[in-house]
Structure formats: structure tokens, C-alpha cells
């Protein structure tokens, strides 16, 4: 359960402090647009758990003191900083929650926004994470149209100079950025990112030790995701038609002309991924040059040359 952002910092010669400040400003704008009222800030170094070697540098209700602290830190320490904003998300309409003995209407939910350091960005594949507790954000996205609209509008309205949105996804876990199957919504400025994520999910599946994963492993091993993506992306119009067919067949709802996909239910993107994967693998499996074929081509070339 998380709303995850993959962000690029544009510009050259920026210090770590300047990069982090841009992310803070971006997060600040998103918080405002989504209705996240923050009241407490944590600045951690290395990790956000003491048990894993993390150190809580600042615990404050004053946002300004976080900025001041960052300016006093060395560049190396700033690159290890994790920022956590705590507060409540004000909902556009109350959620009625039924209990065994009582019933309540929640008009706000506890929420956290985290700006990850480089270490965690590599692990999760995302830069910023926003999540709600008690009722997970993905469940609200699936069931509340007013919240969904507010979220999409907040993503589109949040623009900050020097920060480029690569993708935003809503999923069941922090790993949803790496795995299409774990999602209920995604927002891409470019179709290319969806292709990258498709190949990334194929890679993730190879870790699951299933028979089909063996096929995937064999097929993908000699190729880089960037290469496969760029080849497919060069067939823009045909690819668009193909993807739209898959989206419709699996119940994913494509909003407008941009790549905003909303799941119909919890399993929509799982089905979408499986359909794409099976079609991709069954179509190319027999003619796809594997490692052995590539090696033999290279061998022939080198023997011919020398």
C-alpha cells in the first residue's frame, strides 16, 4: 500500500543538498495538492530504524529546522538522509468503517511521506513514497472515485522546476514500482516507462522459481531492459493499439490520452501482466536468439576474421 514516485532531478553540477531540497519542495507541493496536513518531521541518517544502524538526527514539528539542519550537514551525510513527514490525509468524502460493536466515519487518515536516500531508492525503485494507514491508499483508490480524481489531479498539478516525474504508481507494497502485478493505478508521462516496467516485472518473476520463469530467464538473460524497450518503443502506433487491446481485455481503464491506468479490481494488473507476458513469450520463444546462438554468431565472426 503506497503511492510511489519515481523522480529525476534534472540539471548538472548540483550538490546533494540542492537535489534533496528540490525533492522536499516537490513533496511539499504534492502534500498540499493531495490534502496531506503534516505536523511532525523526522530526519534520519542511513536508515529509518535504529536497529538497522539508523540515527534520528532531527525530530521536530518545525519544518524550517529540517532545512536548516540539512544545510549544516556534509554532502556525504546528506546523500544518506531519509526524510519522513507525518500527518493526516484529509479525505474528499468520509469512509464508513464497520466494526463488531461500532461504526465510525473517518474523514482523515494517518499518513506518512518518505523521501528515500540512494540506498533505498535502489531497493524500491522509487524516490518518494506516500502512504496511508488504517485504510490503505490502494483500497481507497479502488473504491472512491472522488479520491481517485483528487489523486490524479494532484499528480498532474505537482510540477517543480528541476524535478521530472518518471512515473507514479499506487500498489500493495513498496515494491510496486518494480512489479506491475502489485499495482492498482499507474500514471506515466510516457508509454516507454510501461514497457520498462513490463520487462522489469519479467525479471522479478524469474526470482520466483516457476516453470514459466525459466523460459523468461532464458529469453531475457542476454538482453538489457533499455535495449528491448527502445526497440519496442520504436513501433509507437502499433504498440499503442496492442497495449490498448490488452488494457481493455483485462479491465484496466485508460484515462484520457495519457497513460493513466486504473484497475477494475485487485487482480487487474496481475491479469494484464500475465496476458502480455504469455503473448510475448509464446510469440517470440522459438525464434529468439538465446545466449548460445549469440555466442555462436560471435564465434563465427571471430573465426572468419582471424
Amino acid at each position: 500500500m503506497a503511492i510511489l514516485f519515481r523522480l529525476n532531478i534534472t540539471g548538472t553540477g548540483l550538490t546533494e543538498t540542492e537535489k534533496l531540497e528540490r525533492l522536499i519542495d516537490y513533496s511539499h507541493k504534492f502534500s498540499y495538492n493531495i490534502g496531506f496536513k503534516r505536523d511532525r518531521y523526522h530526519l534520519w541518517i542511513n536508515d529509518d530504524l535504529e536497529e538497522l544502524g539508523g540515527k534520528l538526527e532531527v525530530n521536530t514539528e518545525d519544518f524550517g529546522s529540517i532545512r536548516a539542519k540539512i544545510h549544516r550537514m556534509s554532502e556525504e551525510v546528506v546523500s544518506k538522509a531519509i526524510l519522513k513527514f507525518y500527518g493526516v490525509l484529509e479525505l474528499p468524502e468520509p469512509i464508513e468503517v464497520e466494526g463488531y460493536e461500532s461504526q465510525i466515519a473517518l474523514d482523515k487518515l494517518p499518513a506518512t511521506l518518505v523521501i528515500y536516500n540512494k540506498h533505498y531508492r535502489r531497493i524500491y525503485g522509487c524516490t518518494v513514497e506516500f502512504s496511508t494507514y488504517t485504510i490503505p491508499d490502494w483500497e481507497i483508490v479502488l473504491n472512491s472515485e472522488s479520491f481517485r480524481n483528487r489523486l490524479i489531479s494532484a499528480i498532474e498539478k505537482t510540477v517543480h522546476k528541476g524535478v521530472e516525474l518518471v512515473s507514479c504508481v499506487v500498489g500493495f507494497s513498496k515494491y510496486a514500482m518494480r512489479d506491475i502485478r502489485d499495482r492498482v493505478l499507474f500514471h506515466y508521462p510516457e508509454r516507454k516507462v510501461f514497457l520498462e516496467d513490463f520487462f522489469r516485472t519479467l525479471n522479478e518473476e524469474t526470482k520466483e522459481e516457476t516453470t514459466i520463469a525459466e523460459d523468461i530467464r532464458r529469453i531475457l538473460r542476454p538482453y538489457k531492459i533499455e535495449f528491448l524497450t527502445s526497440v519496442l518503443d520504436s513501433f509507437k502506433e502499433k504498440l499503442d493499439r496492442l497495449l490498448i487491446t490488452f488494457f481493455k481485455e483485462t479491465g484496466a481503464i485508460l484515462v484520457g490520452g495519457s497513460y493513466v491506468l486504473i484497475a477494475e479490481d485487485e487482480g487487474t494488473f496481475f491479469r494484464l501482466y500475465e496476458k502480455l507476458r504469455d503473448d510475448f513469450i509464446s510469440s517470440i520463444k522459438n525464434e529468439w536468439p538465446d545466449e548460445e546462438k549469440i555466442s555462436s554468431i560471435l564465434e563465427k565472426w571471430i573465426e572468419h576474421k582471424f
Binding site: E101, K108, S131, I135
Partner: protein
């Protein structure tokens, strides 16, 4: 939007004789609406009180919700003997490992994750069976 109570996780067992959901934890026990709350607080016939969080894949949030709920219940003088996180499939976590008996450990350490002395245990949904209750509660 409406969220209905559901007999999820250990609440499915007939030997659970008292069940409180998130709404009850807020209304009956006055838990802070601005802090994370777990999915349920229940009582097993062996006289053990437990907190459960039912999650599909993510352990990090589940731990925060269980921690916050145990702390608040204990602060109000309510009994908590056990804590469980219920999962469907093996979760990915950068912070925790699952050890023998489902005990949750901090990644790469031998230190179990505990809150006020209560160790958090992981239970796979498929393990929740009447004849396997002894794994989670006293006889």
C-alpha cells in the same frame, strides 16, 4: 466509501471468542485516529489477547501498525499477549527477515522484532486452520 468488517486472519478461527476491528479499537478503546491502527484485537479461549494485522505483501507498514496499536492498548491498561502479521505470500522486505516459527527479525541480525516485550510473529494465511491452532495459542 464503506469498509465492512470481515472475518479475516485469525478471526476466522471459531476459538476466537472476542473480536474487535479497527472501528472498535477507535470507538471502544479510544485509540488515536491520527496514529496507525492494526486490523484487529481479539481474545482466544486460552485467555490470550492478541493484535493482528492482515497484509498481503508489505511487512514494513504492518509492523508500524502493530507497534502503534500494542503501545496504545498497553498505555490504556489493556492486555496484549501476542502479535501476529498475517500474510498471503512470502513478502519482500528490506528491513525484516522471517525466522523459524514465523518470528520476525531485524534484517541480518538475530534480534527479534518486539514491542513492549511482545515478539511479532508472521502467519501465512494457509496456516490458519483449526487443527494448527496450537502453533499460535496455548492449548
Amino acid at each position: 466509501m464503506r469498509v465492512k468488517k470481515s472475518e479475516r486472519g485469525l478471526f476466522k478461527l471459531p476459538s476466537i471468542d472476542i473480536r474487535y476491528s479497527t472501528a472498535d479499537l477507535r470507538e471502544k478503546f479510544g485509540l488515536d485516529p491520527n496514529r496507525p491502527t492494526a486490523d484487529g484485537y481479539g481474545h482466544h479461549k486460552s485467555c490470550e489477547w492478541f493484535v493482528q494485522e492482515v497484509k498481503s505483501t508489505d511487512l514494513d507498514w504492518a509492523v508500524e501498525q502493530v507497534k502503534s496499536t500494542i503501545e496504545q492498548l498497553k498505555d490504556r491498561g489493556e492486555p496484549v499477549d501476542k502479535a501476529f502479521i498475517i500474510i498471503r505470500r512470502k513478502p519482500r522486505s528490506a528491513k525484516y527477515d522471517i525466522g523459524r516459527g514465523g518470528i520476525l527479525y531485524y534484517k541480518g541480525s538475530k534480534r527479534p522484532v518486539s514491542v513492549r516485550g511482545i515478539v511479532i510473529r508472521i502467519v501465512y494465511e494457509k496456516e490458519i486452520r483449526r487443527d494448527w491452532e496450537w502453533r499460535f495459542f496455548s492449548a
